[in-house]
């Protein structure tokens, strides 16, 4: 009697358990991935206005506009109609992805808001790129904007962060190469670092986290758009104390930063011979050593840059790059060019923006930790008066495969 009771109870329990189903199982084709995220200042699109009039609104302040780039689109109908190829070739570029925007004041609420507008929920596992516009960073600090992103479990910390000059959503809407998805395009462009030093090393969310936490100023790569084309151009400075954007550095400044940090993989220096004939130096390797000298409370930095490179292009008529004399002369002119760039950078950092973004603070921390501890809270202001000297040594070690 007792036995039967037990068995019945257990059977009931077992049946109960089957009613719950599989809890987190979502078939992959029922999901939408968003590969790019753009954060702009709040501007309400007309669709939303219309919906609001019909009562489709919730309590929010229109602080930010989030644009997500969703891939892939539904191909509607079975694959049999496509013949051999699956999906890709039979569609135009505009079908590969679509962008959708929402406005609100909390990033996660906005993203979840998409769930009441689309038939598939968004998952962020494959987010590749986050683009923030200068506009919104003028008023809201980076830490607040990125808070949800850093907290989320879906979004991988390997996602890249970029700044945009105009509207961030425009960077997600490029027609540069048909069939190309802008988010992937942007991510791929970062890889071009090995060809030029006008691109900063990538900043992932992990790096961003560390930078925000340390309350130091830093730079992020800038993206500009024009008529559907994008370009990496310069960098935006984020001030450490409040995480807001305070200004831009141009392409040459970014080059100078790479030179100082010594992490360029490639790049060029140029001088004009006879005022209009460019002669180009291509970097093969760069090494830079920053020494921090502390004399009591007086800090100064000495940067020693050594570089090995080649004569890449010569427009000067009558000059022979294979001759040592010409190389020596060119070397001096290249050094001038570099010094000019470095001075320009220092000027902007120390006088104009009063922010230290290159990494001098790190060097001070390593070499004079006690001093750093005292100074780190006001480092940006102190840096504005710190003298920085440069020592440049270039070496032209070859001239390519053509003699003249």
């Amino acid at each position: 009697m007792f036995n039967r009771g037990i068995y019945a109870a257990l059977l009931a329990a077992a049946v109960l358990m089957t009613q719950t189903g599989c809890w987190s199982s979502n078939e992959i084709e029922d999901l939408s991935l968003y590969a790019g995220l753009a954060i702009d200042k709040g501007m309400v699109p007309s669709v939303e206005k219309g919906m609001k009039e019909k009562g489709g609104a919730y309590d929010k302040k229109n602080l930010v506009t989030i644009t997500t780039q969703v891939i892939p689109t539904k191909t509607g109908g079975s694959k049999g109609q496509q013949g051999g190829q699956q999906g890709q070739s039979g569609q135009t570029a505009s079908n590969q992805y679509y962008n959708t925007s929402e406005t609100g004041d909390s990033v996660i609420q906005i993203i979840r808001q998409f769930a009441i507008r689309r038939d598939r929920p968004f998952i962020g596992h494959h987010l590749k790129v986050i683009i923030v516009s200068h506009d919104i960073l003028k008023s809201i600090g980076m830490e607040k904007l990125m808070d949800f992103v850093l907290r989320d479990n879906d979004i991988r910390p390997s996602c890249l962060v970029l700044l945009s000059e105009g509207k961030a959503k425009d960077t997600l809407d490029i027609s540069q190469v048909p069939g190309d998805i802008p988010a992937f395009h942007l991510k791929g462009m970062i890889r071009n670092r090995y060809r030029t030093n006008k691109v900063l090393p990538k900043v992932t969310l992990t790096n961003l986290d560390g930078l925000i936490n340390s309350k130091r100023s830093f730079v992020l790569q800038n993206v500009i758009t024009e008529k559907g084309q994008i370009q990496f151009s310069g960098a935006g400075i984020i001030k450490g104390s409040d995480g807001k954007w305070i200004g831009n550095l141009n392409q040459e400044d970014v080059e100078a930063i790479s030179w100082i940090k010594g992490n360029s993989r490639s790049g060029t220096l140029k001088y004009y011979a006879n005022s209009s004939e460019p002669v180009i130096y291509e970097i093969k390797s760069v090494k830079s050593v920053i020494t921090a000298k502390a004399d009591g409370e007086d800090v100064s930095f000495h940067v020693r840059i050594e570089s090995d490179g080649r004569m890449a292009e010569n427009w000067k008529s009558g000059a022979d790059p294979s001759k040592i004399a010409f190389q020596e002369e060119a070397k001096l002119r290249f050094e001038e060019d570099l010094r000019r760039k470095l001075d320009h950078l220092m000027n902007r950092l120390q006088k104009e923006y009063k922010a230290e973004v290159v990494g001098f603070g790190d060097k001070l921390k390593i070499q004079h930790p006690k001093l750093w501890k005292k100074m780190k809270h006001r480092w940006d202001e102190i840096f504005a008066d710190v003298p920085v000297t440069f020592e440049i040594k270039l070496n032209i070690s070859d001239f390519g495969s053509s003699l003249q």
Binding site: L10, C22, S25, E27, I28, E29, P72, G77, K79, I123
Partner: protein, 581 residues
Amino acid sequence: MVTHIFLQHVLGLIPMWSTILSYFPKGTVFFGAFMTLVIPLLLMRVIRLLRNFIRGSGRSLSGKGQAGFKEPQGGQGEGHAAVQHFYGNFDDDLNALKSAIGGNSDVHFREFVVAGANLRAVLVYVEGMQTEDQINKHVMKTLMKDSADEFKEALKATKPYVKNGLGAFIKKRILPVSVIFDVHNATELKQAILRGYTALMVEGMTEAILVDTPNNKTRTISEPISETLLRGPRLGFTEVLTENTAMLRQHGRNESLEIKKFEVGTRAKKSLALVYMRDIVNADLLAEVEKRLQTVDMDFIIESGYIEQLIEDDELSPFQQTQNTERPDRVLSAIMEGRIAILLDGTPFALIVPVTFSMLLQSPEDYYERWLPGTLLRCLRFFAAFLALTAPALYISFISFHPGLIPTELVISIINARQGVPFPSLIEVLILEISIEILREAGIRLPQPIGPAMGIVGGLIIGDAAVNAGIVSPFLVIVVSVTAISSFSIPMYSAGITLRILRFVGMIFASVLGILGTVLFLLLVCSHLVKLKSFGVPYLTPVTPFRFNGWKDLFLRAPMRLMYQRPDLMKPRDSTRKRRS
């Protein structure tokens, strides 16, 4: 004052109390705890019931089994029926015999007279099993003609024969036959004749003599179909026990190779042989095997599979605990390691005990090739086995639960490919897997001419058609075919079946809890393997218990010069296999 402080303390504790109480688990938690306890209890009870039920029939652990397992004397065995003795009188015995088995049309009685002694004699045989030549030349001719003189002399010399005299005389002096057995009672005589022996009864003999052994029809020795190798001897066992033991002796020439014969089966008897190396094998192991064989109590053992299932440690385990093979080279190498082989008359499949997990994935070819290809092929096989076990489960977990773990481009192609597929991934996988299992079963029984065509039909057309119809996604077809091919790479067929079964269990786990389900499934399988023993040897040796000696032969196959010791796990008496050069 004191009460004041006391009250303060007590009142101060109240908020603490409420926080403590808030942490006190709610009712649902207790229910969950109850479930945690009760379901394993229930499962254990069920398993114990099952085991007792299984063990209760077909196997008798008491000494009753003695009846079914006995060393033969002269090739016969006792039966359950009561033993009938000879009357002692030729006519009576003959008549009794005729009434017992004369009804069979293929039993013949050839009566004749022994020359010289004028004694009546009769040859009884079953048609088809006698060697005509032997009987005619060596028995009948000798008795009817050649030994006339001997008989006459014997007659003169001795009195009418004392008991046992005539039989011994005939055996020792008269019959030029090498294989002769005695039969002492009528029951044995009947059984022997029906078995195919030719019996000779002479007037005045107290016993009957069997003068001819059954002439079995056998097939030629050829490579076994189920275990082909590219390189290696193309020998396989046949259904005749004597031929098999002869083959072993021929190829494993060693005086310590010992073959012990037994009889199993109560109603229809079969000979069974234990083969081992007397000076290598562990005595306890031998005793254990014999003990288990003693408990085999069935009336007819057709195939060694019956024996395997009756002597194994754990019937409820999906893993086999004895190895079966048709190849004598496998048997011989196993014996050299200290294992024991069991051969059964009537089947070419020999059993090897004890077995460990690594043996299921090893192939003799590993040893015949050099160590580098041997090692790499073995690693490949292990990987294939792992794939065969977990690939569908991994597919299900990634597609349904963790799309974030797949590379992005792959995700996009999968999403595109899976548009329009109506089923969740579990159902999809089940559909394809079950179809492949059905195809496999059908393929075994297909007649030769249709075989390859069906392969094409099954593989290409069904797979392709399913994809085009939108039932499954092409990615899944790849996964399932890779799984199927991997499972074919396992050298032992029985191990392949195990993996197939487990694969389905893995799929179900994965469909409930994703990658966690797969991990739990793997842990469950590993826990089971870890507890499994085959005749006292832990199944997972030499992975664990960690015997470095055995690792030379597990994932790698170390160069021949290094393999100079027998595996520790067998605890052999003589552990040196080869002298180090």
